[in-house]
Subunit: 315 residues, 2 copies
Amino acid sequence: MPFSEFPPNYKIAVVGSGAVGCYYGGKLAHHGMNVHFLMRSDLETVKKNGLQIRSPDGDFHLREVNAFASTEEIGPCDLVLISLKTTANKALEKLIPPLLKENTALLTLQNGFGNEDFLAERFGTERVMGGLCFVCLNRVGHGVIEHYGHGALSIGEFGRSPQPRTRQIVEEFHQSGIITQLAENLVTERWRKLVWNVPFNGLSIAAGKITTDKILADEGLCTLTRNLMAEVIDAANREGHPIPHDFIEEQVSRTYKMNDYKPSSLIDYMAGHEVEVESIWGEPYRRGLRAGAEVGRLEALYFLLKKLTSRESAA
Amino acid sequence: MPFSEFPPNYKIAVVGSGAVGCYYGGKLAHHGMNVHFLMRSDLETVKKNGLQIRSPDGDFHLREVNAFASTEEIGPCDLVLISLKTTANKALEKLIPPLLKENTALLTLQNGFGNEDFLAERFGTERVMGGLCFVCLNRVGHGVIEHYGHGALSIGEFGRSPQPRTRQIVEEFHQSGIITQLAENLVTERWRKLVWNVPFNGLSIAAGKITTDKILADEGLCTLTRNLMAEVIDAANREGHPIPHDFIEEQVSRTYKMNDYKPSSLIDYMAGHEVEVESIWGEPYRRGLRAGAEVGRLEALYFLLKKLTSRESAA
């Protein structure tokens, strides 16, 4: 029965060994799972010094890391964790094929919308799973990841309800010390996550490189945050993903406790890295438009961010 | 008959001798009208060297300028041109009274909404007139104004149709070399001007300090510009000011001819001056909301600009 469960000691590849890939892959490897990392700039350092994770949950140091310079060297796997920046998705067309065998599952841990669709179109719908990361990380040096807090994962299947393999992964990830839960409907979960990401990641850049506490301290931006959330929820609801409107106050309250939090997009922007504008704002905007939702605020934010983060503006 | 016409050689005061006040006041004085300027930082230089206007229409130099340090020194006038930044309106409460006599008319040349209302509440509705300036100016030194182009004025009455005094001013300003026309309905004209100012002044700041040609060259910002214009037009229409939707394409085409134009708000922002956020975005947004218009894009732009231009952000 294809795609049912993974075999014992199944082989895992991590494609995109930035903060997310190293953190989750590192946790699994630390627990003794069979993890192979594709690395670029960190390869030599990690081969020599291993991988260091600094975390309020306890630091750890993986001395022996299976790090490779190409997916050809890694070869066919049972599970591929994809944690590339979504702006680099095009590269997956060449990176993924050497990792595939009959039942290889592709689990994208990337942000926002469009990634599962991208993988499904190219490598087959049944391979594709998605995970939402609720974590704050930063890669602070070659092979050194700083974990600031949170860390939960929510894993589901693309276009269908959870399968035996999904439950298996959730269980095993959980045993590796990652708080993991099953996403009954991945698209609903992505919409729920975007309810927070759309306003906070977006306004943190567009309102002048500010942390979440500064957004909440500004009356106008607070109103705009709530109204952006309402637009995202309306779009989700029209697409058939029920999110209640009181989710807005829940998200706002939660954010007050995060103090001077820097959303990942702000970190990317300030570091001069590409910002994932299409997956976080572009796709939800287009889906909202198609569903007939009023998405004027999202439109304004999307087009402003697209311009502000373009290579030309950044230069 | 009060407020009917101004007497021969009537006395004019200019309050707010920045670029707009010096340019229009200077044109009137150059034509021989009886103009008195309230000046602050430029006072000594202008008393010594006069006022210089550099313009593609021909430079001119006013050697003798009636410049004063207070409105008490100027004393009662027949007509007061108000060209302070709208962010400084509060100061008018003290500046205006010494200029008033029974029939003194107050003509605000300030931007956007809220200025006529402010004057009417404090000094009486019948005194108040408004003028829209279609001009590109910059004060480049003490008593030195650079005129880049355009220059038309549109003058009307607050809350009523044109009066004999309105027609008189339009005629006399026209004779002074200012292309002046009568605004049948001042509020309609202000809405029409905002159709341009809302997107172009706003996006020039919010999209990363860019000129109008850069806005037009960006597909997303172009869409956003048109949709912001549509929101402003809907708000105006709901308030009973008919502006046809084909005004949008007219305004966009006109802007293509302006090349790398810097909207006045961008000039203010880049110079570290206060930006007139409330009169250009805040008031139209609130009026739109009250009229039941969809103004989501305007809301996003308004709250972003409010934060971006706040003293705290500028610092």
